[in-house]
Subunit: 353 residues, 2 copies
């Protein structure tokens, strides 16, 4: 049979070929120019040291065709947690903020929920208590506020919120609060033939509304917790899809790597995470694979430029993005690469000059 | 923030830019050369007529920036059923054949299943009865034969089977039996900025082992029925993922479009299918979207070059890939594009000269 033009490795070969050609910058645009610059000096926002070196070594080991750990392009997959790994998760997960904005309408429709947790906490207005809501609490609010919604109406809702909402500390849209060093890792891996995926404990449908624009990660490369969808018909007999009050995929704890396999059928070669609630099994499973594997733990230890939190540093357990001592020790024992945001990152955000 | 190098539209722009540059054929390889040829004369294995024209018109309407129905590149998604739409499904779904090869071992391990359907039918050796096993029967065999397996061992198993198994009529590997006209549609859509997806009633994990090589469709663009996966540890305390005896995603009937949303969060602009058991709601939902939408039904009416079957043509219901009269009428009423394999396709397979 004739070979079709694939979206994968051959497309990347084309990309590589395009980069090798002498072209006018205007033809390929800023993105390509940026990629070329980056290929010249990868990871510019990283301080030199063992962590940066471990990432560079891993990429060389898996992409140099003479390496014993060479990985064919079609198997080059890297998986990233989002909250606390690619962007800020403190003081409250952005998706909880998104859901909170819908709780008022829910209470008017279903006042009987007012006395029940986690709605009681939400309605209390107690910021400290709200900040301690877990991702499991989020799931409950999410199912209550989003069920019955038409799927395309939900898309519009998320986009509207993203355009308007601002983080209280920086007074900027949440999508500005992505970590520049991690953006560079994403670009560097892709320039090295890796496909990059998000595996979030939060809602996949939420992240898909900005992942391509913000991270260059396509909707089909976003795995997350997700509720059921139901096919039906509206009053005009038009077919509809609505969100249902039932979780199908629960991406916390081992669920994150179990569901990654369900959606993609591959063990990643690299994984990046930060939290005990949903990254531990993913990082452990990736590291246990054959050949060169990279498991990376982001430690939030920069109270000045971002936040410092978690029992692994002897800090209070704020529940959001907790890193337990046990998981930290496991990472040390298993040879994970451990990032100190304070020491390994030259800058945190792109908007810092 | 800085824009990362995305895998999506910008990558495609680069691809377009590369195609526009004068390059030595050796640099880009056969695949690119083929794409260029195809762009010159798309769909060469199709006879001219309203069906071919409908596909060409849809692509022009959604990709010409001056068109009222223009679709931005990031939303260009096309969804394909596999069995009976991209490759041969008669006389027995290939995945059923794959599972049957494992039933012997299962019976030795669990002899109590011998008296139960669908195993009783399988063990009878009655080819006609086996040929009538449905996808639901497949799911039952699949859960029984594959549960407890390590996920990577399963991958190896599928690859081994694909390399050895042959279709009884053509005495060729199943992967040779893809429809050349549909390969051309896949390539043409991708050359027009569409991303192409498989949504199969069968097992996603099975299809992912050949979809990139055979169709140019990446594992993350394959949705299908899928069982649960379980994280655990082996005797050496190494982490494991195993297949569990429970379905998480059931891709039959409305499940196919419900789960497409779950995995990708988008309504496709084009959908291709052939069977009442799992394509009707997908085709209906896609066609009901705003703007130009293409829903395509493949009718198996070529008993000489392939097979002819289904009640919609007054032929016996062979259960495999049934097309009901009701679905056929719905398609006519809703303006689906209906392919007659006999009349619309110049040739069926690439190996035909």
């Amino acid at each position: 049979m004739s070979a079709p033009l694939p979206e994968g490795p051959s497309r990347r070969l084309l990309l590589g070929a395009a980069a090798a050609l002498p072209v006018a910058p205007g033809l390929l645009g800023a993105t390509a120019a940026q990629a070329q610059t980056q290929t010249a000096a990868p990871l510019p926002s990283w301080n030199d040291g063992p962590v940066k070196q471990a990432i560079l070594d891993f990429v060389r080991a898996t992409t140099d065709s003479s390496s014993k750990d060479f990985v064919p392009p079609e198997e080059r997959i890297a998986e990233f947690d989002q909250d606390g790994t690619l962007w800020v998760e403190h003081p409250v997960y952005s998706q909880i903020v998104f859901c909170l904005d819908r709780v008022g309408a829910l209470m008017r429709a279903r006042p009987e929920l007012k006395g029940h947790e986690p709605f009681k906490t939400v309605l209390s207005g107690n910021r400290e208590a709200i900040a301690k809501l877990s991702l499991r609490d989020l799931f409950e609010i999410l199912l209550a506020t989003q069920s019955g919604m038409d799927v395309e109406a939900f898309r519009a809702d998320v986009r509207k919120w993203l355009a308007e909402a601002k983080h209280p500390r920086w007074n900027r849209p949440y999508t500005d609060l992505v970590y520049q060093p991690m953006q560079e890792v994403l670009s560097y891996l892709r320039a090295s033939g890796y496909r990059t995926f998000i595996a979030t404990g939060g809602s996949a449908g939420f992240v898909r509304e900005y992942s391509e624009k913000v991270y260059g990660i396509l909707p089909e490369q976003v795995a997350g917790t997700e509720q059921a969808f139901k096919y039906g018909y509206d009053h005009d007999h038009r077919p509809t899809l609505t969100r249902e009050p039932k979780l199908v995929l629960d991406n916390l704890e081992a669920g994150k790597i179990e569901n990654f396999w369900l959606m993609y059928g591959r063990r990643p070669y690299a994984a990046f995470g930060n939290s005990s609630s949903d990254d531990q099994q993913m990082l452990e499973y990736v590291k246990a694979g054959s050949g060169a594997r990279l498991s990376v733990l982001v430690v939030h230890d920069d109270a000045t430029r971002e936040y410092a939190y978690g029992p692994a540093q002897g800090l209070p357990d704020t529940k959001v993005g907790t890193l337990s001592q046990e998981m930290y020790d496991m990472g040390k024992r298993q040879g994970w690469t451990i990032i100190s945001m304070k020491n390994d990152w030259k800058r945190i955000f792109a908007f810092e000059t």
